[in-house]
Amino acid sequence: MMFDWYSPVYMIPLPVDAQFDITFHTAGQPDLRQAEAAVQTRVLAGGALTGARMTEDGMLQLVQARQGGGLQFSAACDARGLGAVSDTAWPFSEATAPGVPQIEAVITTSGAVTQGIPFYLHSVQPVTIAQKSDGIVAFLSQDDGATWSENMVLVSGVQLVAADIGPDGGTIHIVGTRAGAALSTCSR
């Protein structure tokens, strides 16, 4: 008997270099030395990179998953600088880059943190709302994004969809899903 079993679609963020491991099987392809050869995946890549242009200072901020796990932060006044791979070169080009990111920092190295959304709190303090395991946490920076504090848990059991700062500058609005397809909103 030969067939393919298709799993449900899991809305669970995966970091870079996530590994699939079959720990036990009585079905599959037993003649193959590595059971993983029986597995294929397809992913939803959208949303892995989030960004925002800050009206306060005109900088473009990006938060993305970093190689090795966690999140990294970069910010540049000239958006073209975010495409540079070093101080002197564009990707796949020998031309000199017009600029480099003014700020590049690691928000966290935790592999449990997989998705982040940046904005400013009270128009001053960089904050990144992120998915951490089954909860949503906030990382704060006291120095324009160069270093980041430990996270604080905002809400548990919610899958992050979107987040933004309210018009008062201090209320964080979060849109997420809880326990399946139900949509919930909350604010802190």
Partner: protein, 144 residues
């Protein structure tokens, strides 16, 4: 609007392609092999999988139990006809990490017969006559 990437095999170390990702699914190629003497009307298969983050943390853990129903008939001692299907109504999917788990729709899977020219009749697959002797092996539903 995010769209799914193409199906891609795992790398040799199990690394998932096209990460980071906000959602995903996997397909598992099942090749159940049996000999004549182990044919039973009800069989089942089980697997357990994990997805690990770069730091070795468990992001996802799941076990799946599938039941297959097999109907076969012998004519004399040389001719075997069999038909099988996967009992999707009673598949058992238990995801232990994360809790709760987020899915797009219900947490149910589905099956499709693999290539190799399977005959599809309703939900039953692989109806064929296989000439063999009682001591030969029926491998993967293919004539041997």
């Amino acid at each position: 609007m995010p769209q799914f990437t193409r199906w891609k095999s795992l790398k040799s170390d199990g690394t998932i392609a096209d990460t980071p990702a906000t959602g995903w699914r996997y397909k598992y190629a099942v090749d159940v092999e049996f000999d004549y003497w182990s044919l039973t009307p009800l069989m089942q298969g089980r697997w357990e999988v994990e997805i690990l983050g770069p730091a070795g943390n468990v992001i996802f853990a799941q076990r799946v139990n599938l039941k297959y129903t097999m109907v076969h008939r012998t004519v004399g001692s040389l001719l075997i006809m069999f038909v099988w299907w996967v009992d999707l109504q009673n598949q058992d999917i238990v995801t232990t990490v994360p809790g709760p788990v987020w899915t797009l729709g219900d947490e149910t899977g589905h099956t499709e017969p693999a290539g190799d020219g399977d005959v599809i009749a309703g939900r039953a697959h692989d109806v064929r006559l296989v000439l063999t002797s009682l001591h030969d092996t029926v491998a993967g539903g293919r004539a041997v």
